[in-house]
């Protein structure tokens, strides 16, 4: 059974139909790219899945459970994590605190546990810190050591993107939604990010949906590519199929002149 099944998803904002009957599914262990020109509804797609906007109609089923209309934190708790197109860290919290706070929904200590400093509380705090450091070590030396105690705002742009992924991983998801993870990165960093996305699946067993503009990344990571345009899915298939699809080329480049005259 597919991990996430979306059928006939619709979401409109006033006159704009951001999502107009999208069907989508992803199986466990897959990496699927969502591409499309600007304003195609890709980010709205993510926002609707993660509960930022309730869908107007349609079904979003995650592991067999209808999650349409759930609040974002409930959806995160069920196992869907995300990153943001414009990096949104907690800039004044330290690197380590950023990944520690993301484990909130996986931990349970309440007010009284922390007030009384119970053994359970101390054990859990140690676990949170341990797990946070382990997740940061996924990124090699970049977010380790002295970086733990640095506030997030001092990080370079690429490291902020990495930390955002680390923070999403810290919610211990099954499915992770990456919104343009290589935006603004140089070729070397982009290549590294490509590997990283593959490692998310291979080493961490995560299922990944990625919105991406960089076609090389799309080619190198995707098992399957889904193309959105004006809120409608216009193509789906492996990279080769989709990149030669006339509808996709038209959506990106416009119709050839002679065809337009016909």
């Amino acid at each position: 059974m597919s991990m996430l099944v979306i059928s006939e998803l619709r979401k409109g904002f006033g006159g704009v139909q951001a999502l107009d009957g999208v069907n989508f599914h992803i199986d466990k262990g897959e990496i699927v790219s969502v591409i499309g020109p600007n304003g195609a509804g890709k980010t709205s797609f993510f926002n609707t899945i993660t509960g930022y906007f309730p869908p107007d109609s349609g079904l979003i089923a995650f592991n067999g459970l209808d999650i349409g209309g759930h609040r974002p934190h409930e959806i995160t708790e069920l196992g869907i994590a995300r990153t943001f197109q414009n990096v949104r860290l907690f800039p004044n919290m330290t690197v380590l605190e950023n990944v520690m706070v993301a484990q909130n929904c996986r931990t349970t200590t309440g007010v009284f546990g922390s007030l009384l400093n119970t053994p359970g509380f101390r054990r859990e705090e140690a676990e949170i810190e341990e797990r946070g450091k382990e997740i940061l070590s996924f990124f090699g030396q970049r977010l380790k050591g002295y970086r733990w105690d640095q506030p997030a705002y001092v990080l370079s742009y690429a490291n902020r993107r990495r930390l955002e992924i680390a923070r999403a991983m810290a919610t211990l998801p099954e499915l992770i939604l990456l919104d343009e993870p290589t935006a603004g990165m140089n070729p070397r960093e982009t290549a590294e990010m490509t590997q990283l996305i593959n490692r998310l699946r291979d080493e961490r067993g995560l299922t990944v949906v990625v919105i991406e503009h960089e076609m090389r990344v799309v080619r190198d990571v995707s098992d399957r590519v889904v193309v959105l345009d004006h809120g409608v899915k216009i193509a789906e298939g492996d990279y080769e199929t989709v990149s030669n699809d006339p509808d996709v080329i038209e959506a990106y480049l416009g119709r050839p002149a002679e065809a337009g005259n016909a």
Partner: protein, 606 residues
Amino acid sequence: MAESIVPESIQKSRPASDVDWSRVARQGALGGLTMVFIAAAGMVTVLDKRMIVDPWLSLGLIILLWVPVFFGFMAAREPTPDGGEAPVKGERDLLAGMVTGALAGLYFSFLIVLIDRFDISDWLSNLLPKLVDILTFGRGIGTAAAIWIIGSALLGLIGGALQVVSPRVRRMVTWAVVGTIVVAMLELIVTNLFQGLHIEWVADLLYAPRGGLTTQAAFVLAVVFGISGFRSSGKSLDQRRQERMALPKEVLARRNLIAWIVTVIAVIFVPMFVGGLTNELLANVGLFVLMGLGLNIVVGYAGLLDLGYVAFFAVGAYTTAVLTSTESPYWMPELTLNFLRPEGWIVVGAVILVGSIAGILVGTPVIRLRGDYLAIVTLGFGEIVRILFLSDWLSPYFGGAQGITNIPSAEIGPVVIPGTNSQAIFYLLAVFSGIAIYVSWRLQHSRLGRAWSALREDEDVAEAMGINTTAIKLTAFVTGAIFASLAGMIFAAKVGAIFPISFRLLISIVILVVVIVGGMGSITGVIVGAVVLIGVLGGPTQPGLLQEFGQFKLLIYGALLVVMMLKRPEGLWPSLRRQRELHHDELRQDAWLTGDPGQDTAEVDA
């Protein structure tokens, strides 16, 4: 240093003879305006009665005389361009300071002539002929004007000179002047302390019989302070703090522990050696520390701007009153607030319970609101609560405008803690504040505290990261409400009678100012803020250490808040996070200019 990127034309400083006259004119006008404003606000007339150095220097004069010095200092200060060299200091700074002072004095003497010639007290009620008497020193108007102009010019010259001399000498002068004035201002508390220690004769040596330091004492103090200023390292508190932060964690933890132990010992023993007056001040400070800690959780930790915080204070006070007062109109359980007996704990429990319910009632409707909207709605709630207690509709329960009287004092076993015994009240508040400090400290470094700071930084993202924002917002409101209701409980037991008028909007604002001035999100900051604002200046109804300023308290609050927001928005004793937040742009800019990425600044791309 890396190669400077600032153009050479900016780097070069101007020759020492060249005075920036427009700057001088501006600062002179500002100085004159400030002096006129201080006189028109009535501060000179009122504060003239308070002597600083008997018999020639009164507080009323001092609050005028600092103005030419300050603006002379400002006029002579030339900003160092970013990355450029500091301007050469020289005669031009002295000249600038002197002219600025003379201008300020000139404008001010216009005012003296004006009130001498025309009676304008109809418009500005403080500009009375009496003011002229003070300002002319009993001489003719012409002589007085000359004295003010020449005097101000000299003071401006001193201000300018302070720019020119070495930092060491500047420290010596400022320490001598400020230290002497502070000792004079603290006359009340110092005398009180010496009486407590049974060494009144020291106070008699220091202070003249009709108030103020004696001239000899002032001289000795100035010399002592001057020498210590000269010998001090001149590091600012922030520099020391940063140095401290660089220490290894274990050393830091040990030092913090020592600092807290010293504080606790001081809290226990100091009230025993000071008189009733100082204890009264301490009790007021304690009350606002307790409330400030509560508001700090809501505003400082969770970032929810609550302008109706006084509502919870009122709820705690009224709960106590209804449960314990013999005069409480409707309900008559007549429990006593005895901390060693079960009925006392019923009262405490009821206050906590009702406070929590109030927290939930206020918190629930505002869950979806943010920023300005949240502030406005909580402001409304604060007023609603006061008006409900005032209303005729509920007067059978809460007594309406007559309030509830005859609230018995708190007790500990057989020992009664009467409201008049401020020392005992202070200890009581210290215990509750201690609990509040512990709770704040534990929560700050827990799962909940981290979730609060995530909420404060970015609510949407916090929710996307699996944080139940509704739950943690309510927890913040409830925790804050409990602290305030406990403060209300002690307040009710202390004053013995409560009225709706005691719970005005002003209280909410003062608590917020305490938290902001002290440093949002910082426990020590709240304590520092309460000591400075409530202890030194005085609370909304309580007199402070500087009682003389009583009627100008709100004016000074306002001025202080403006200066703080401009010069030190993170508060007097900020939390590390807040300091980073408000200054990280500057740090990054410094790093960019010097080409040195440093430890705590922008990382050069990895």
